[in-house]
Symmetry: none
Subunit: 293 residues, 2 copies
DNA sequence: CGAATATTGCAACATTTGTTTCAATGATGT
DNA sequence: ACATCATTGAAACAAATGTTGCAATATTCG
């Protein structure tokens, strides 16, 4: 915890009267408590009068103890949220330029994805991957801004298995397809605020029917964050007018890759071979002819 | 910041009355402030009565708000303990574990998005945004793994304008819709190796017909990287069996945000207002009733 | 519909907060 | 020793804190 206070104090400490030094020493040894305990509590622990604390703050140039406390509170807050990884790498651009805005937006996405690697989230991802890998069938659901996430996950899964089914509206394969689900099947559902009622209800219904739920959503308090399922939290704050969906997309992509990891190596090898051949030359994929696996 | 409170809350959140949910949501989003602000301050910021905060603490089994605050204070203190906490946060993962693989995949995505901020790319993005902002009509095209990118871009655009059209297969709105395009219209196309023949041909045809092309693709040598258009390069290397599409998705998202930047501020303001209202409460969006803009 | 219950906003409550005042004490310089 | 000044401890202060009781309003259930 580095606080301007520490330097100010070091500079003037020697010139302080005895009691103020006692108080100052306690603070410098317990900086994390300055913002968390009442001043009187701190005085008690430091073994000085409450008034001494106030006097110390004044002696160091603060308006009052609250000012000192505010500074320490900020330091605590900053500790909590790690530094923005990309913040430093910015190149100097006119602040109002489109380029600068683009850079800011992209940096935000990159940071958000970095933060997906919290211990909690990683554990949930691993559990989700295991759940999906052993599922008889995986239903994929997402509407509006979450639709691409569900679609991508389904697409990725469909390359390595036929156990995935997308619950989208077109055709008759909408939410009704869930009625064929059996206990033990998995529902992969993505949704962020404002939540679509149909999606929430389908998830609840699915859980009631004994399905395992893997959720990608924007908050642990989301109505989609059903108890007893795997809940993957994806930040959606954004400087843009839209909620950020890139982290959710990254999560889905990551999840599919992990599921594949446990899958038949032969299938994956052929997929990668095929891919290498195709991309080596500038090969086209014609529309009707599908990839033969 | 992981606090037992978070789990308790997630478990009981759904059963809480409305005001308590508002309070709970604020706490869940601002855990670092619980121990640093007075309860009345927090109530003010969350937009609830002070009494509601007290009641929430009780409803969750705490003796009072102070108990809740103490728990959060401990979490803050633990965070502050420098290296010990950091070591705990970056728990050494077993190299072969699913968690480690997930972390690697996510880190790769984050890095790739960071690299999108090259000077070349930023300039191209800015040009593309300007092009699209002034276009009479924007057609969005992408198939297979690029489909979510095109879909997302179209969805984002469709929230602020009716000038966007998605060229997807279902219905009769496939590639044929391009035949109504006029010179000066823009085609936003996304595609990576192995390129889909139909997409490449449509792009070439579109350019021949005088359309401006904005391309998101994986290489400057891609057949989609037509001369005279805006070419946005998105890396697709991946440790997974799939090509990485997250950077392309981020690009599309960024581009839409930039286009909106130059758009009618009133529309955006209303979008954001609507959004704030909706996400403040636990409002659902019912399926048939569309967002009124 | 009416009764019963749960939820909410408001106002009062006793505590506790940080600060200030004032007299007592100690140190310093002449 | 005396006067001067800084320092200290104890008490008093207004302001703000967390909590609770109560009436008004919504909601649920028969």
């Amino acid at each position: 915890m580095t606080i301007p206070f520490a330097q100010t104090l070091a500079a003037r400490f020697a010139d302080l009267p005895e009691q103020l030094q006692v108080a100052a020493r306690w603070i410098s040894e317990n900086p994390q408590d300055v913002a968390l305990l009442s001043m009187r509590d701190q005085a008690r622990r430091a073994g000085v009068q409450p008034a001494t604390m106030s006097r110390l703050a004044r002696a160091l140039g603060y308006g009052g103890y609250d000012a000192l406390r505010a500074q320490h509170a900020d330091a605590l807050r900053r500790n909590g949220q790690g530094l923005a990884a990309t913040a430093q790498r910015r190149r100097p651009l006119d602040a109002n330029s489109t380029e600068a805005a683009a850079q800011a937006l992209l940096a935000e996405s990159a940071d958000q994805i970095s933060y997906l690697s919290s211990a909690d989230n990683l554990a949930a991802i691993a559990r989700a991957a295991a759940l999906i890998a052993s599922a008889r069938r995986v239903y994929c659901l997402g509407q509006r801004s979450s639709y691409p996430v569900a679609w991508h996950f389904h697409y990725a899964m469909s390359l390595i298995t036929d156990r995935a089914q997308l619950l989208d509206g077109s055709g008759a394969t909408g939410l009704d397809a869930l009625s064929h689900a059996q206990p033990g099947d998995v529902l992969f559902v993505c949704g962020v605020a404002p939540y679509t009622r149909a999606v929430v209800e389908a998830s609840l219904q699915a859980q009631a029917n004994g399905l395992q739920i893997v959720t990608v959503t924007d908050s642990p308090l989301s109505p989609l964050a059903v108890q007893g399922g795997c809940v993957l939290i994806s930040p959606t704050e954004s400087a843009s007018y839209l909620h950020a969906m890139t982290p959710a997309f990254a999560l889905a992509d990551c999840l599919a890759a992990l599921v594949a990891r446990g899958d038949d190596p032969a299938v994956l090898a052929r997929l990668e071979d095929l891919d290498r051949q195709l991309s080596a030359r500038n090969t086209y994929l014609s529309e009707p002819q599908k990839v033969s696996i």
